[in-house]
């Protein structure tokens, strides 16, 4: 198989893996699967298994919390495996050179969540206003999944076909501040979503409960399960002190 064809197939698999991670989540996007599959495409399954295991162990305990974007395991494994096989084995060096390249996965995910999908989501909203069910599916599923090919498939192809240095060059060419700026903005726009939500529930008089949840999480660092228990207590107190009392 020519290198072009191999790079193309790896990129195709990475795209499909990202579609899985955004929909069905049968987890073909994890290193333990990506490594061997890329190994098969590149003609060295043993190296594929070795890189897959190494990267899987590195990411084993990483849990995606909130909206912080972690380095991406799928794209790291695909590129690391491809480069290791092209270099003729040598898992360690490949992982070391490919991991920085996987930063492109983080950049792509930041742009996707803070710009591209905000755009698609507003198109879904307009489709819903027109009662256009096809428009909802097109803009929530089909177009965002097609974008995955561009955001994750293309960089993978370039890294395998032209080498990691080529992609590193692209990353270096993107001004740091633009990416930081996008993620700063991305971290702020949740405020608009929360404001819309609070406005839609129309229960302004309950603002003290919102403050209570906020202070418990911010000062005491109580996690979401704890906040949920707190919410149960608040509801119970309101029920016993207000509703049950009024009935009695």
């Amino acid at each position: 198989m020519s290198l072009f064809m191999q790079a193309f197939l790896v990129a195709l698999f990475v795209t499909i893996a990202f579609i899985d991670s955004h929909t069905t989540q049968i987890h073909i996007f994890r290193p333990v699967v990506v490594g061997p599959v890329v190994g098969l495409i590149m003609g060295d399954v043993q190296t594929g298994f070795a890189v897959g295991i190494t990267v899987e162990l590195m990411f084993l305990a990483v849990i995606f919390v909130g909206t912080a974007v972690p380095p991406n395991p799928t794209i790291s494994t695909a590129i690391a495996t491809g480069i290791a096989i092209l270099a003729g084995g040598g898992t360690d060096i490949a992982v070391a050179t490919a991991l920085p390249v996987s930063f492109i996965g983080q950049v792509a995910e930041t742009v996707q969540n803070s710009v591209i999908n905000v755009f698609f989501m507003h198109r879904v909203e307009r489709a819903a206003e027109r009662l256009d069910t096809k428009g909802i599916v097109t803009n929530n599923l089909i177009l965002p999944m097609a974008v995955n090919a561009l955001l994750y498939g293309v960089p993978t192809f370039l890294a395998i076909y032209f080498g990691a240095a080529y992609v590193q060059g692209i990353i270096d060419a993107i001004p740091d501040k633009i990416i930081t700026g996008l993620s700063v903005g991305g971290n702020m726009i949740g405020a608009v979503g929360f404001a819309l939500l609070l406005n839609s529930i129309k229960a302004k008089k309950f603002w003290p409960f919102c403050m209570l949840g906020f202070f418990m999480a911010s000062y005491l660092g109580i996690n979401m399960v704890g906040i949920a228990l707190l919410a149960v207590i608040c509801v119970a107190m309101y029920y016993y002190f207000k509703i049950a009392d009024a009935k009695a």
Binding site: V32, G190, F194, S200, G213
Partner: protein
């Protein structure tokens, strides 16, 4: 009007798989939730205005674990059915109940699925590979995770719907139906407040240097009230939306511009 059939619930299940489709930082999984509710809304609402309102309800902010989000999808399906056929629940309570469920399901979903099931299955797969079983490892992992992902979603949609129907009937007979929007709103407000520090993050890297003393503005603010900037910004957005009727799109664009400009000027970072 009849209840949702098995076939229709399967449709909800299929559309729920797209919960993360247009996942975005403004309102997270809202577009996916709307797509999941499509079969229910299309079945029960004839009047175009009522249908539009139903869709708009589900376009509000929604964020929880992708897989456990099937539970609020099932519950919301039951509540939409009740509202459309009986009309005896307040439609605002649908979002309040959804929001109340976001918190516990995010916490449980992340720790049980991503923090427990996945590392265990991946660990087993790795030990199969190292003991020479080769492809059995990854195939075992995919089957295991497919069972977890699709199984929890199936149970979420079907059981969430079943329990949701029971829940609405129970509050009806207990006479709490007129209070349910209050109770759900209290839970929703508490959960939203608890989410804000992690999800609306603004930090100011500026430092004030005077001789040997370096005064970090962010550290001072964190000492005073951690996450205060996110809270104030959310409050400002709420005021602009509810009182000044500014459109969400304008606020998003301005926020992104402020974020990028602020980063260039070194105010944010």
């Amino acid at each position: 009007m009849e209840k949702l059939t098995k076939k229709e619930l399967w449709k909800v299940f299929l559309h729920q798989l797209t919960i993360r489709g247009a996942n975005n930082y403004e309102r997270q999984q809202n577009a996916g939730f709307t797509e999941a509710m499509m079969p229910v809304i299309e079945k029960y609402y004839e009047d175009p205005e009522a249908k539009k309102e139903a869709y708009a309800r589900h376009m509000e902010y929604f964020l929880t674990n992708d897989i456990t989000s099937a539970i609020p999808v099932g519950v919301a399906a039951a509540m939409e059915e009740r509202y459309a056929t009986e009309g005896d629940i307040d439609p605002d309570s649908i979002n309040a109940v959804k929001t109340a469920l976001m918190g516990p399901l995010a916490g449980l979903g992340d720790s049980l699925l991503n923090g427990t099931a996945r590392p265990i299955l991946a660990g087993l797969a790795i030990s199969f590979i190292t003991s020479g079983l080769g492809w059995f490892g990854p195939i075992f992992f995919i089957f295991g995770m497919a069972l977890v992902s699709l199984g929890v979603r199936y149970l979420g949609v079907f059981q969430g719907y079943k329990q949701g129907v029971k829940f609405v009937e129970a509050i009806q007979t207990s006479g709490l139906i007129s209070k349910i929007s209050d109770l759900a709103a209290i839970a929703a407000y508490t959960i939203v407040g608890g989410f804000i520090p992690a999800l609306v993050v603004i930090s100011i890297p500026l430092e004030y240097v005077s001789g040997d003393t370096v005064l970090s503005i962010q550290e001072t603010l964190d000492g005073l009230m951690p996450g205060v900037l996110g809270l104030l910004y959310t409050g400002l957005m709420y005021w602009l939306i509810s009182k000044k009727k500014v459109s969400a799109i304008k606020l998003i664009l301005v926020t992104m511009v402020v974020g990028i400009a602020g980063t260039y000027l070194g105010i944010f970072g």
